[in-house]
């Protein structure tokens, strides 16, 4: 890489010598590219009607699932496994999240030419939000207000998994909770757990997911079962 030029200005008030790195626009371009929004919906999803396939911009295959299939999975699982269906969904989500992370990392690394670990956190988050949106999973945002207590709060809106959930008395996005748990475990290299505390399927304003170290977050599961609300759960966890 070319070193930035240094110029010395000789007429400053203070300090006496000011070093300014001049910006070279040519150096800002990598292979004459300016990477844009990788997950932009109009360029990310493509289809080949003749072959009958839907793919992403790298040519990886995508499939679209009808809403009735998600409903069918929910009701089929409930019928066959009852209460255990929540755990099944959570584990399916964990499995899904693991491969989702691998693909997400590959795609971003290929496109932006930077390793995920070296990507600024804000840009990584933005990519995740765009990806979530383009995949049709709704809007996503991270809330760092519980950071000092060792928890991360994830909020999602317009989730299809909540919209199609059966009537229930507990939050039902176990699939998403599983995805978050394994995605962020992979990202941080630590074993993280995820518990949903509010759900759009129960008329909440958004879906809230608490993410944290497994042993610290475990008690939250029982609190959700006891129908404690989000604030009460956070208060007890952070007490």
């Amino acid at each position: 890489m070319q070193r930035p030029l240094l110029i010395i200005t000789l007429h400053p008030p203070t300090p006496l010598f000011k070093l300014t790195a001049m910006i070279s626009v040519a150096d800002l371009l990598t292979n004459n590219r300016v990477p844009g929004n990788y997950f932009a919906a109009d360029t990310y999803v493509r289809g080949d009607l003749e072959l009958g396939i839907l793919e992403n911009r790298r040519g990886d295959r995508l499939i679209a699932i009808p809403e009735t299939l998600i409903q069918g999975i929910y009701s089929g699982l409930d019928k066959e496994t009852g209460q255990a269906s929540r755990l099944v969904l959570f584990n399916c989500g964990k499995w899904w999240g693991k491969t989702f992370y691998t693909r997400f990392r590959e795609e971003l690394t290929d496109y932006y030419g930077v390793a995920l670990a070296e990507m600024p956190m804000l840009e990584l988050l933005q990519s995740l939000q765009q990806c979530w949106l383009t995949y049709g999973w709704g809007k996503l945002d991270l809330d760092h207000s519980l950071h000092s207590h060792g928890f991360l709060l994830i909020k999602t809106w317009e989730s299809p998994f909540a919209a199609l959930a059966p009537k229930n008395e507990v939050p039902y996005c176990f699939l998403e909770a599983g995805i978050f748990a394994s995605f962020f475990s992979q990202l941080t290299g630590r074993e993280l757990h995820c518990v949903q505390t509010t759900c759009e399927s129960m008329a909440a304003d958004c879906n809230r997911f608490l993410l944290g170290l497994s042993q610290r977050l475990k008690p939250a599961e029982a609190m959700v079962e006891q129908r404690l609300d989000h604030d009460a759960i956070v208060q007890r966890l952070c007490a």
């Binding site: 300014t20 790195a21 910006i23 626009v25 040519a26 300016v34 840009e123 933005q126 765009q130």
Partner: protein
């Protein structure tokens, strides 16, 4: 391509195009040489234009970090490329669709509005001297639209 044009091709089996629809097509095709000309002017002088803007920007904002200025320049390169393509396609929504949400959020998060405002002002000035009035008039609507969504505050002033 302009959505209006795209629709023209959607109903081939239903009917032949009306004279006014053919006129729309004619207008687009007729304007194409000028669009390609303006596109070339931008493409060939992208670096030169942006380098001048970058130098002026650094001089105008000596206290801004190089990192922030570089980020804004990079974003502007992208904006200009999208606008150039939008101009070629005669689709004012092209650049806006690509930038909305994503780049608008980035500008808010990094709070580079002040830099960007100065940057686009300098960029306009520079383009006025490097492009002919006709070329500039083809690009302008696209750039204005992009500016409006990226820096909504300044557009209302």
């Amino acid at each position: 391509m302009q959505p209006q044009l795209e629709q023209l091709f959607d109903e081939a089996e239903k009917r032949y195009l009306k004279p006014e629809e053919l006129q729309t097509l004619n207008q687009y095709v007729g304007s194409l040489p000028a669009r390609i000309d303006a596109y070339r002017a931008l493409r060939d002088r992208e670096l030169e234009v942006m380098q001048v803007v970058a130098d002026q920007l650094q001089a105008a904002l000596p206290n801004e970090s190089v990192e922030n200025i570089e980020r804004s320049i990079k974003n502007a390169l992208l904006v200009l490329r999208y606008c150039a393509m939008g101009m070629l396609l005669n689709d004012e929504a092209f650049a806006v669709e690509k930038l909305r949400g994503w780049l608008t959020q980035k500008i808010q998060v990094f709070q580079t509005q002040m830099i960007d405002q100065t940057l686009y002002h300098l960029l306009e000035q520079r383009l006025d001297t490097t492009m002919t009035p006709q070329q500039k008039s083809l690009l302008s609507p696209h750039l204005q639209q992009a500016k409006q969504i990226l820096l909504p505050m300044s557009a209302s002033v």
